[in-house]
Symmetry: C2
Subunit: 306 residues, 2 copies
DNA sequence: AACTCCCTATGCTCTTTTGTTATAGCGTAT
DNA sequence: ATACGCTATAACAAAAGAGCATAGGGAGTT
């Protein structure tokens, strides 16, 4: 069994055909045919069923694919790690952030990362917890800041702290940082919430269920920008961490108020458990923690340490 | 980067010399020399420092070795898994058991395993928790029954239940299954305990510390056989799960009594988190759970479900 | 049913890689 | 100083792999 074989196997499995793979990998089709055949011979198993229009995986093939993808990734990572070991960290790192964290952290963290680690190519993906968790599992992402329990998620988690959730309303709605609003009252207002794939929504639904309140959600917005603009337009209240609307509040476009029964969410840095972190990923993780701490110190992010 | 290269690299790293590796792998030394050189060239890093008496790993080499060993194991495992997928499970599985569990389970589980999975070659290793955990981490073991917290051990754990600990004394010492003994009294008796690398010892030390009792340990025995025989000779009391001395109690060679403040330990099936379980390992794990349940049903093992 | 298209399999040749033998070079220890 | 043991290099042989041309075979079309 050979890396080259595993790579072509993966490619063939994904493209479903030797000839397409031949185009992609710039290797003549007969060579691929023979590589696959040798692999099948060595493993004593049919990996594909051939038909007139291509090749489809057998059960054994699917099993192999599931195992190899991780291995190929690990091998690629070794190259980066060896380079990182003898100089500054280098390699690709994919970082996932939920929108409310991203809007605080993305820009300044990206800047610090390119300053500190010119060798690292960082990719920041902004999406909802659900998606981030899936990508971590699939190995397409190296680390994420997500919230919620990670115990049953098969992910390694380092706690960052608790983020408070406040009520957010349009200018002139009467919310004030000085005065708490009643959670029962708030949940009965017209609300603008993210959809169910978002962790914040689950948190709010849970709070409402506890109070036996049926939420009045006429507007859902999955984009964070859209959500805040809807609130600005006076179309409802939102529940968000204050750090995420700091700018709008300063401009006077939005107002916030603490909630009587504090809602909060636990933020964690999550990473896959099924493969070791690269040196570059470790470096990024450390810097990320530093940056979160810096935000806290500068008062940009009122996260509570656990 | 090639598997062959990684294998020879691993071997050279362990043996510390090309010529020894040449003998071991039955490959001429210059071929090995070139493989390593190509690997170094590809990774753009010195992996070894050469000297008159062999080759020693550099930092980069140590890093590569750490990453490689896991990958080579995973690749080997794939072969077994593909075989297992198209017929009965096959491959090597290394199972670790602590002595007190081993003496209940080893024989009957080994029999069931060869009956159910003739394709699997099972190796049972009996040792103390500390060693089992280390071997799991090093990847030399696939799963273990151990006790104690696994949260901070970087291991995946499936709970099996709680095992009661009872007082064990020689024939005629007055212990009775009907009558509880006072824990304070028990811990002040002369005790025969396993050494500190054993989880049971930690448990007992902890209980003594809570009661502020200094243990009177004149005899330590790391072998389970030795320990019970010392108790039989009247050299002291032991604290053990009753299942482990069932035979001796039935023969009248030992007596047991419950302890006033129940001591118990949480048993878990632990497995490594840094690599996926093989099909064979999964099959063995399932059978192991079944067999533990069967023991419980037959009254051979009074484990309390969590 | 015949035909066409697209895909994979196979035989052949050529290139590249890998292993072996022989030997040179070098550091260490006696 | 010299002998020993280890690694590096050169030259050659063997094997593996890639490319080319082409045969064989389903799937859809006319």
């Amino acid at each position: 069994m050979d890396f080259r074989q595993l790579r072509t196997f993966t490619c063939v499995a994904e493209l479903g055909s030797l000839s397409k793979t031949s185009d992609t990998l710039r290797i003549a089709q007969p060579a691929l045919s023979r590589q696959i055949k040798l692999l099948e011979h060595e493993l004593r198993a049919e990996l594909f069923t051939r038909n007139g229009r291509g090749m489809v995986l057998t059960d054994a093939g699917r099993l192999l694919l599931a195992r190899t993808s991780g291995i190929v990734r690990q091998v690629d990572q070794i190259r980066d790690d060896i380079q990182s070991a003898q100089g500054p960290p280098s390699g690709r790192v994919v970082l996932g952030l939920v929108p409310t964290v991203s809007c605080v952290l993305s820009a300044r963290f990206a800047r610090r990362c390119v300053e500190n680690f010119p060798g690292i190519s960082l990719r920041i993906v902004e999406s909802y917890s659900g998606h981030l968790i899936e990508w971590l599992h699939r190995g397409e992402m190296d680390l994420s800041i997500i919230y919620g329990r990670t115990a049953d998620l098969h992910l390694a988690a380092q706690p960052l702290g608790r983020d408070q959730i406040v009520a957010v309303g349009p200018r002139g709605c009467g919310l004030s940082r000085k005065k708490q609003v009643e959670i029962g009252w708030l949940l009965r207002q017209r609300l603008v919430l993210p959809s169910h794939s978002h962790g914040l929504r689950a948190l709010i639904e849970h709070a409402a269920a506890l109070k036996k309140i049926k939420l009045n959600v006429q507007l859902e917005a999955d984009s964070f920008r859209v959500l805040t603009s809807l609130v600005e337009e006076g179309l409802g209240f939102a529940l968000l961490p204050p750090s995420s609307v700091r700018g709008e509040v300063a401009d006077g476009r939005l107002e916030t108020a603490a909630i009587s029964k504090p809602l909060s969410r636990e933020l964690v840095i999550a990473s896959p458990v099924d493969r070791p972190a690269s040196i570059a990923t470790t470096a990024v993780t450390t810097l990320l923690r530093e940056e979160v701490a810096a935000c806290r110190k500068e008062g940009l992010w009122d996260i509570k340490l656990a």
